[in-house]
Symmetry: C2
Subunit: 155 residues, 2 copies
Amino acid sequence: MKAAELPQNTNCSIWRSLEVLGQKWTLLIVREAFWGRTRYAEFRRIGVPTDVLQARLASLVEEGILERHPYRRPGERTRDEYVLTPAGRDLVPILAALAEWGDEHRPNPRGPASVFVDGTTGRPVALAFTDAVGTPADPSDVKMVRGSGAMAPTP
Amino acid sequence: MKAAELPQNTNCSIWRSLEVLGQKWTLLIVREAFWGRTRYAEFRRIGVPTDVLQARLASLVEEGILERHPYRRPGERTRDEYVLTPAGRDLVPILAALAEWGDEHRPNPRGPASVFVDGTTGRPVALAFTDAVGTPADPSDVKMVRGSGAMAPTP
């Protein structure tokens, strides 16, 4: 059994998310998609090597995070655009959590590069922990405990 | 200039967080730390190769996410425990966001391995987006827009 296939890893949704998203370029490509980029040439601008970009885009399509939409500019061949699926758009809290930690602990003197806003009101929003009835919890008091899907650690 | 050093990357707090956290094992080690593991032999149980674990623990200490506390069991040499710093504990929304996406899109049939609870009330909590006055925002309506620290993309 490969190390990464130990049951306490495969049972863990953090591990399963990182299987899809754990490479740095993957989440930066997703960041660009949230900023409205859809075309190969646009994703190239983040500096990702061509072969890595091709592999990551194919993987994100296979994992159901991006989907291909063909388009054709006059006089050119048909190309694919890459558009976030609903599962892809559900990644927004992961990007927001990464941005909030970076803004707090690795701040950019020019201010945040990414800001999260309510699409309806236009107001900035931030992540908060709330219980089932909406009562906010102090994040420094939130504990991460083992649930029904956790395996006992190997001895 | 290396690709990853393009200004639109270095200005971005998502990128800077991923510089610290982007390797899969790093966040799995942090997960173990949240579950209360502190000792080298405990971290080894997740299946991480020894050399990788040593490098990741050193990096997490250098980045201010874990700190070393010496301890000694009777008759043994002094060893280090690894304990989350306040900056390390601030990673809990990133782990919660990863767990929530995994539970939704890559569910474990046995149920979630990680559950997040309010340490005071013991009630389960989940991430929500709220504006400055605490009004919740529909996550599917949250947009990620470029802030003051974002650079124009290279042409």
